[in-house]
Subunit: 296 residues, 2 copies
């Protein structure tokens, strides 16, 4: 019998993940700041509660999947930890800084609750299909216990050891690499178009040959079609991730010049009024610097 | 009956390509600055000649595959063009600037010879296996004619239109993207290791999931193992390609900040005495800046 789960955060990623857990028979108590988002889940059998701590069943599992560190800190309170109590596990799936998860770990430990970091790679479509990639870190026994839950969420789980923040470093490093790939495609495409070669010709060739992997094919399609308004990964969240990576890189002394350029690209995108677009709109920066115009 | 081919340049890439053509029955006349390199080819049936123009059979095909623009210019002379004469085709496979191929095109046109640019993607192992990816540009009829030759060289041919230099722009843009991928992996790996996560754990996860394509798997293995001494793509040639991309980007007005960082990484690698290493030794830059040491 699947154990009860409390789920906090029904955004682009959280909602499809929660739905998959419900479909697999996990009894679900859900909380979201905007309760409207829970409507379909409640019809499918979830219980909607009015405060974050009410999602907790004593000794059970709570998952948080929220937009940023502040949102996680605002719900992952001592009240929630107390409600979960001894034997409880908090699966922290949001993309937050390793420091935030380390802080939560301390707070929850005081109430006998273990924290497992489990950030995920993949867009909302992958979440809906249960095809995310999950990175974990934290203490061994709770990781074993939540494995059946994570197996519903993703197509694979990769573990990064006992230190709770490690999976978050990996997530930030991975998001940096995704975004760096988009910038590289954007610069290469600008070079091609300034030389009379459509970016479609360049990127189709490269993604059919040396770069035939999901990241490149997916972002190449967005760059080719200037498909930036169909938001899978909101641009301000991408900036947030780059700034978290920047903060971790600074505090652990790892200069990352490619990351610096990405931070500036996103800051510039926001300056140009692109907060409502997908993160891939970053590609417009290289185009505009070259006097080209892609998309809105 | 395969038509005779003159082949100039028997380096890391040229030699395996020439060997494949010979094996497929193309009569081969070869020239190399160091004639020793031709030894095995001659045993396999090739004719070694003493000057570049002697490789030409009137009206036939000549292939050049050399390290840089100066080397190509030094052999692709008026003498060679005259020896090829009307109906001849020069397949220019080296990674050179689009301007160099445009200049060769003018020179060879005066002798009735067409120039087809056909730079390739892939390392020497891929060349030996006939698994390169070939990019072409130039006039239509000669491209059709040399298709059977290029089909021996590679597993696929992508065409970029009539302008002779276009395939070279694509090649430079692609090499930029390959190298940018290595830099991104290096920075992400440095961040991981400064946070106690082995770069092997990070890169294995990413190349098994979002980045499961030849470029990333290949370069990740080199970064993980600090395998920089086994030279597939010599570091000074990578710098040469970045500088050619830089030159084309400047002359056509495409700012490329990622490219600028790569130029400096290679310049620094040479300053540190790494001219004899593989291009992937670029990865040591991000590591060293973070106070880490990978490899020699």
């Amino acid at each position: 019998m699947p154990e009860p789960i409390g789920f906090i955060g029904l955004g682009h990623m959280g909602l499809p993940i929660a739905r998959n857990l419900l479909a697999k028979g996990f009894p679900l108590r859900v909380y979201n700041r905007s309760p409207d988002k829970a409507k379909t889940l409640v019809q499918e059998g979830a219980t909607l509660v009015k405060s974050s701590e009410e999602v907790a069943t004593p000794g059970a599992i709570v998952i948080t999947m929220l937009a940023d560190d502040a949102a996680v800190e605002s719900v992952a309170t001592d009240q929630l930890a107390k409600a979960l109590g001894p034997g409880g596990v908090h699966i922290s799936m949001s993309t937050v800084s390793p420091e935030t998860n380390a802080k939560l770990d301390e707070r929850f430990a005081r109430h006998g609750v273990a924290v497992v970091a489990a950030p995920v790679f993949g867009r909302p479509e992958a979440a809906a299909a249960g095809k995310l990639w999950v990175c974990t870190s934290g203490p061994q026994a709770p990781k074993q216990r939540v494995k059946p839950v994570l197996d519903v969420v993703g197509q694979g789980v990769f573990d990064f050891g006992a230190k709770v923040g490690s999976a978050n470093v990996v997530k930030l490093a991975g998001n940096f690499m995704l975004t760096a790939a988009t910038e590289a495609m954007a610069e290469a495409s600008a070079l091609a178009e300034k030389n009379g070669i459509p970016r479609e010709s360049l990127l189709k060739m490269l993604t059919q040959t040396l770069f035939n992997c999901p990241v490149y094919t997916g972002y190449a399609a967005r760059v080719i079609n200037a498909d930036f308004e169909n938001v899978g990964f909101a641009l301000p969240l991408a900036l947030k991730d780059m700034l978290l990576a920047r903060q971790t890189a600074t505090s652990t002394h790892a200069p990352m010049p490619y990351l610096d350029i990405l931070c500036d690209r996103y800051i510039s995108a926001i300056a140009k009024g692109r907060s409502g677009l997908d993160a891939s709109a970053l590609a417009q920066g290289a185009a505009e610097d070259a006097g080209l115009k892609w998309g809105v």
